[in-house]
Every structure is written in structure tokens, then in C-alpha cells.
């Protein structure tokens, strides 16, 4: 398996990280060496193995849906790069 520039472009789009041409080549090389290392898993036959999805092997606990924090609007908005009154401001999304 080999990750080419087209794949890099695709992953870059999926992960919302812009990658210019200059970086794409180096990134492809790095990812290829990492995937070469990962391919070692193919030595193992795992058809009958159940995947480990939770390390604690317990079911997630339910708790009642209570509101514990009140009036934290200001705190939530405090770290936003740009806000207007009670709203986060983003670039225009509707033309």
C-alpha cells in the first residue's frame, strides 16, 4: 500500500487541514513509513477475535439529566475568538 498525493489531498480535506504542495510530498513520505510499520498487523489472523471496544469492559452508566451549572453563558463565550452579544461569530455561510 502506498499513500500518494491524491490520497493526501483527500485526507487533508476530510480532516480540514490545508496542506500545500510543498508539504504534501514530505507528509506522504512520513505517512508511508508509518503505514509500513502498521502493516505488521496483517501477519495476525484475527477473524475469530472479538474487537476490544472498551477497556473497562463495563457498560456505560446512566445518570439523571440534571442541570447543575446555571448562567454560564458568559463563561462559555469568554474564550471565543469573535463573538457578538451571546453568539459566536463565524465567516458568512450563506451567500
Amino acid at each position: 500500500m502506498s499513500i500518494d498525493l491524491k490520497t493526501i489531498k483527500h485526507i487533508s480535506k476530510l480532516s480540514r487541514i490545508s496542506v500545500d504542495e510543498k508539504r504534501a510530498g514530505k507528509l506522504a513520505d512520513d505517512l508511508n513509513s508509518i503505514f509500513e510499520f502498521i502493516e505488521k498487523l496483517n501477519e495476525l489472523k484475527t477473524d475469530d477475535v472479538k474487537p476490544l471496544t472498551s477497556i473497562a469492559e463495563t457498560t456505560l452508566k446512566f445518570r439523571s439529566d440534571e442541570i447543575k451549572s446555571k448562567n454560564i453563558r458568559e463563561q462559555i463565550i469568554k474564550n471565543s475568538p469573535e463573538d457578538n452579544e451571546d453568539y459566536f461569530v463565524v465567516p458568512k455561510v450563506i451567500e
Binding site: 495476525l44 474564550n79 455561510v93
Partner: protein, 485 residues
């Protein structure tokens, strides 16, 4: 009396309780030493002024029943601290000031400790040398040109350099134990579910655990006792009966069965690591324990598994950094352009690499081949440990395949950097506790660590084994203060 900053946590607590020292004395001493230690670059943010105020306040009405009465402490900058900047070593969180406190740090302050500042780490805890931090690399107090390990590199450097009596780090694949080993200190990665993850900047949620880093085993046990609590705010926190680890600490490990896994004798491992391991085996025998050869057959598959599982979880966790709600924002022509530029400018190279690996292994058409496969192998790795623990009480291995390496030595080769965590990663994949203790020096005089791996929730047992070994090893860290201005 010994220099304040040379005292262990246990000694400081005792001296404060006996009123031989005040919190102000202790806090001042660590602040002064930290200020003279800027060359180590261990801190990202200091909170010295406030720390001194808190110490004075503590001394006016000291509550000496607390476990950490007026003890100053710096913590890894991955823990959210209310009103104190928390960066995770990243440009993207460069200006982030949390409005809430992580449970683990909350527990520490509730026992009387005082925040000194936030310690440097690899960006989002992704690294093994503290060289991926946006705030620059950290130097190892052992030697100017050495990395302190990572990702809790600032934490390790600060404890070894006596800038803080004790600290907490986080460990996803070895990030507490490897830097502890590289700097000659003790580091414990607790059982998954032992310490709450609430308020810790997430990297890989099924692997991340907070844990103590200290100069000795007793200090480590005391801090573990403080930070390990059941927390409903973390859905994977486990409600089990926790010990009073420091009080129940004993050197009596007679009759304990210690497993020696043959698969940890990896190709190309330096002879001095093998020799150290043999010495460790002799130490536990001298303590009255029995060693048994065991097999963990899937050990060599742990790193490839980790480099699917961890990036996959990271790509999902780090999707939240979009330049909208908090953190760095780049200018963009439209919303998508803004997202893409924010993440490209805000994340460093290693973080971007891991997000992309994670995105790829989770993407349509590749999920089964990579992510599902890795989850299956993870099960096999866990089964190996379950099988071994039918025969033994704990497992003894080296902590790392080498001593600390030089700054810049491995930055251009991600895979060789990843190989550092070969002995620590299986423990995270299986959710087990592991402790690294300093056990000797290599021919260059750099510290080397041994790791004791326990059964789930059996922190007391590995702390006891470490405590017994510590006495036999009688390790002395070679700190020359070369960096002090």
C-alpha cells in the same frame, strides 16, 4: 535542615506539619529555584505571584490535617486550571483560559496544595521527547543536550531539577513512565478508570490516564492517594475501593510472583538495558519475591496497534479545534477555508500527522482493515496479560529500550521516535497500572528505569514492589545544577 528544594514531598509535609517550615518558606524556595531555571524551559506559564499569596493565606490559618498542606506544585499544561492559561503545548490553545478545573487538580487543591504553574509538554501530549511543543523543547537536568523524554517532559524535568517537589503528568502510551526513566525519577501510570479524565485536554480517550511523578515511591503513593477518586463527570471513571496507598505502603513483598516476559528482550536492545533488567530480577529475589518466566506473545504488535488506535481517537477528539468556540483562529475566505487554515496554522507537524493517520484509518473503505483490525489485536494483547496474571502478581521489564537521547536526534524519523514507547504502550492498551523507578545508570551516566506492571486496580501491589526495590537499588540522581543562573 536540608535545602528546602532538595527535600522530598514526605519530608516537606512533615516539616510543615511540625511547623519547622511554613508554606511561605517552601513556596518561596521553589519559586526562587524555578526562576533561576529558565534555561530548562520546563514552565509554559507560571503563577508565582498568586502562589505566594495563597501560601501566605495558608499560613495565617493552616489546616494541618490535609494531605498536602500548603505544598506548592506545578502541573502538566494538559490539565485545565480555572483562570490559569492551559495550552496543551499547542499554538491552537495559546490563549485558552479555562473557566473550570480538572477533577484531578481540584483534588490536589482540596488537599491544600498550591499551583506554582503549568509545565511544558509535547503538543497535545503527542511525542516522546518534548520537542513537539509550540513553546520550545525542554532540557533534561541530567545533561544539557538531552531530551527529558515526553510527553510529560516539562513535568519530569521540573521534578528531577527540583523546581517542584512533585507533579502530575498524563500517560497515553508512556508519557509519564518514559520521561521518568529519562530523568531518574519515579512515575506511575494508574489503571484506566482510576483517575478522572474530566478537564484533561483529550488525546486518545481509551488510553489517557493522569498520574503522579515524584522523587521517590512514597511521595508517588501519597499523590496517587489524592488524585485517584471516582468521578461521575467522567463516564469511564470506575467506582472501586481505593487504598490509602501511602499508609498501606510496605516493603514486605515476600512470596510475590513476578513475571519476566521474554518478548521484552527485543532485537538491538543495548546490553546495559539487559544488565539492568537482570539486576532488577536479582533485587526482587533479594526482597523475597519469586520470578517466573512468562510469555506475552503479541508484544511486538502493540506499537502498530497503538499507532492506529491513538491517532484514530485523536482525530476525533481534536475535531473540536475549529477556531469558533475557543483557541486560535486564522482568517479565511469562508467558513471551510477558515477551518482549514486555522487547523493548518494552529496544529504543529506531529499533531497534523496523527490527525491525518487517524482520519485515514477511520475513513470509508479502510475502517475494517485498520481500525477494526487494531481493536482485535488490542484484545489479543489484553488476553496475553490476563493469561499471565493467572500465574504472576506483577511483571518486571525495562521502562525504555535506551537511555535519554540527544535533542534533535530523532525528530526527522517518526517511526524511530515511536519505538521509544515499545515497553510502555502495551500497558496502556490493556488498561493496566505501571510504574517506572530509577534503577541505575548507563555507561554515559544517564539514568535508566525499570517498569513494574500490575493487575488492574492493583496499584498498591506495584507501589509495594517499587518501594522494596527502591531500598535495594539506592539510586542517586546525578544533578549538577548546570542550568542555574
Amino acid at each position: 535542615m536540608l535545602d528546602i528544594t532538595k527535600q522530598s514531598l514526605t519530608e516537606l509535609v512533615e516539616n510543615i506539619k511540625n511547623k519547622k517550615l511554613s508554606s511561605t518558606d517552601v513556596t518561596k524556595a521553589f519559586i526562587q529555584r524555578s526562576e533561576k531555571s529558565s534555561e530548562l524551559n520546563a514552565y509554559i506559564t507560571d503563577d508565582f505571584t498568586l502562589a505566594l499569596d495563597k501560601a501566605k493565606k495558608f499560613d495565617q490559618n493552616p489546616n494541618l490535617d490535609l494531605k498536602l498542606p500548603g505544598i506548592p506544585m506545578a502541573v502538566k499544561d494538559l490539565f485545565c486550571t480555572k483562570n490559569v492559561k492551559t495550552t496543551a503545548g499547542s499554538k491552537i490553545l495559546n490563549n485558552f483560559v479555562p473557566t473550570y478545573e480538572s477533577t484531578v487538580t481540584e483534588n490536589i487543591w482540596n488537599e491544600g496544595a498550591i499551583l506554582l504553574g503549568k509545565l511544558n509538554c509535547d503538543e497535545f501530549a503527542m511525542g516522546s521527547s518534548n520537542e513537539t511543543s509550540h513553546f520550545g523543547n525542554v532540557q533534561n537536568p541530567i545533561d544539557k543536550n538531552l531530551v527529558p523524554g515526553g510527553s510529560s517532559g516539562g513535568s519530569a524535568s521540573a521534578v528531577a531539577g527540583q523546581l517542584t517537589p512533585i507533579t502530575i503528568g498524563t500517560d497515553t502510551g508512556g508519557s509519564i513512565r518514559q520521561p521518568a526513566s529519562f530523568t531518574g525519577i519515579v512515575g506511575l501510570k494508574p489503571t484506566y478508570g482510576s483517575c478522572s479524565r474530566y478537564g484533561i485536554v483529550a488525546f486518545a480517550s481509551s488510553l489517557d490516564q493522569a498520574g503522579p511523578m515524584a522523587q521517590n515511591v512514597k511521595d508517588c503513593a501519597l499523590l496517587q492517594e489524592v488524585i485517584s477518586t471516582y468521578d461521575p463527570k467522567d463516564s469511564t471513571s470506575i467506582n472501586f475501593k481505593r487504598n490509602h496507598y501511602s499508609k498501606e505502603l510496605t516493603k514486605n513483598i515476600k512470596g510475590k510472583k513476578i513475571g519476566i516476559p521474554k518478548e521484552y528482550r527485543v532485537d538491538g536492545m543495548p546490553k546495559e538495558i539487559e544488565d539492568l533488567w537482570q539486576k532488577g530480577i536479582q533485587y526482587v529475589k533479594d526482597c523475597g519475591a519469586e520470578t517466573i518466566d512468562i510469555s506475552l506473545p503479541h508484544t511486538s504488535y502493540a506499537l502498530p496497534t497503538y499507532y492506529i488506535v491513538a491517532p484514530a481517537e485523536a482525530s476525533s477528539n481534536l475535531a473540536r479545534y475549529d477556531g469558533v468556540k475557543y483557541g486560535y483562529r486564522a482568517k479565511g475566505e469562508n467558513l471551510i477555508d477558515m477551518y482549514e487554515k486555522t487547523r493548518s496554522e494552529g496544529f504543529g507537524a506531529e499533531v497534523q500527522r496523527r490527525i491525518m493517520i487517524g482520519t485515514y484509518v477511520l475513513s470509508s473503505g479502510y475502517y475494517d482493515a485498520y481500525y477494526l483490525k487494531a481493536q482485535k489485536v488490542r484484545k489479543l494483547i489484553k488476553n496475553d496479560f490476563d493469561e499471565a496474571y493467572k500465574k504472576v502478581d506483577a511483571i518486571l521489564t525495562p521502562s525504555t529500550p535506551s537511555s535519554a537521547f540527544k535533542i534533535g536526534e530523532k525528530t526527522n524519523d517518526p517511526v524511530s521516535m515511536y519505538l521509544n514507547d515499545i515497553f510502555t504502550v502495551p500497558v496502556n492498551l490493556a488498561g493496566l497500572p505501571g510504574i517506572s523507578i530509577p534503577a541505575g545508570h548507563d555507561t554515559k551516566g544517564y539514568p535508566l528505569g525499570l517498569q513494574i506492571i500490575g493487575k488492574a486496580f492493583d496499584e498498591q501491589n506495584i507501589l509495594n514492589i517499587a518501594f522494596a526495590m527502591e531500598e535495594k537499588i539506592n539510586f542517586k540522581n546525578k544533578i549538577t545544577d548546570w542550568w542555574i543562573k
